[in-house]
């Protein structure tokens, strides 16, 4: 560890330090969802049939669209980092903007999807839900909790990216100092990673 000049007052946190902090944070996120995955696994082994059946209620097409949306957005955010490293500020901002748009599309899709469920009165606590077989209640409960928590992460990621966009604009993030940009991108990739698992588990395995 060559740099010795860390003090409480240094303006910029050393990039290694900051990045490691972010990774550690991602680990906790992983275990947060991990708890849900354990519940999913156990419930699925218990209620295989019901899960089968309930999953057909989900719209695999929207799910697939959202998967593609997130994958593309993951690439654009990775590219924006490349751009800032190459000092192509404008391009970097553009790419982040596209990422934000894609996040918007994702949320729109989710809005329709949830909306549809609500129309069918399929939401936690509803009368319809109450009368379903136990396994299906469980499936929808998990569906809402997992995608809901994920959506919350999309939202946070979106806010983070917006901040980054503004900071690039004001020059606070530049070719020399782009730790925040890097961390924001890492966070966004995590959002993508989680979805990579959610998609087959919830939408596809029917």
């Amino acid at each position: 560890m060559s740099t010795t000049n860390h003090t409480a007052h240094s303006e910029y946190i050393d990039s290694d330090t900051g990045k490691m902090g972010m990774w550690l944070f991602l680990f906790t996120e992983l275990f947060l969802f991990g708890g849900l995955f354990i519940v999913y696994a156990v419930m699925r082994s218990k209620y295989g049939e019901d899960f089968h059946h309930a999953a057909t209620e989900l719209n695999a097409f929207i799910g697939a669209t959202n998967t593609v949306v997130l994958l593309v957005s993951s690439m654009t955010v990775a590219m924006s980092l490349t751009a800032i490293q190459k000092n192509q500020t404008g391009l970097a901002m553009g790419l982040i903007f596209i990422t934000l748009l894609l996040a918007g599309v994702f949320m729109m899709n989710k809005y329709f999807e949830y909306g549809h469920k609500f129309e069918l009165h399929l939401y936690p606590g509803s009368e319809v839900m109450h009368n379903l077989p136990h396994g299906e209640i469980m499936f929808f409960g998990l569906y809402f909790l997992m995608t809901g928590l994920h959506l919350f992460h999309v939202l946070v990621g979106g806010i983070l990216l917006t901040i980054i966009l503004l900071k690039i604009k004001s020059g606070k993030i530049n070719q020399e100092h782009f730790l925040l940009h890097e961390n924001g991108a890492l966070y966004w990739h995590l959002v993508d990673l989680i979805w990579i698992f959610l998609f087959p588990l919830l939408y596809l395995i029917t």
Partner: protein, 94 residues
């Protein structure tokens, strides 16, 4: 104090990675439509894991990070896998 030593991933590489990911997604969907029975879940999870590995390596630049970080990431995933397996020692034998 700055990011001089960071590796820069080229645009082309990023794009190629996306292509691979999209192809894997398509395969996942196809595999599931084939109804392979018990294998479906295993296949879907394997493919998801491969995709995860790719995102981690390229998009998240793990390939270019120092060994300690890579070990950490690997260790964390391994730990999680072990925890699931141990939990299932209970459920599998019930």
């Amino acid at each position: 104090m700055n990011n001089h030593d960071s590796h820069i991933t080229s645009y082309a590489l990023n794009f190629k990675v996306l292509l691979v990911l999209l192809i894997l997604t398509t395969i996942t969907i196809l595999v599931i439509k084939l109804h392979l029975g018990a294998f479906t879940v295993a296949m879907a999870l394997t493919l998801a894991s491969v995709k995860t590995a790719i995102v981690l390596t390229y998009f998240m630049h793990l390939k270019f990070e120092n060994l300690i970080l890579r070990l950490m990431v690997g260790g964390v995933f391994l730990l999680f896998a072990i925890i699931i397996v141990i939990t299932f020692i209970d459920y599998y034998f019930r």
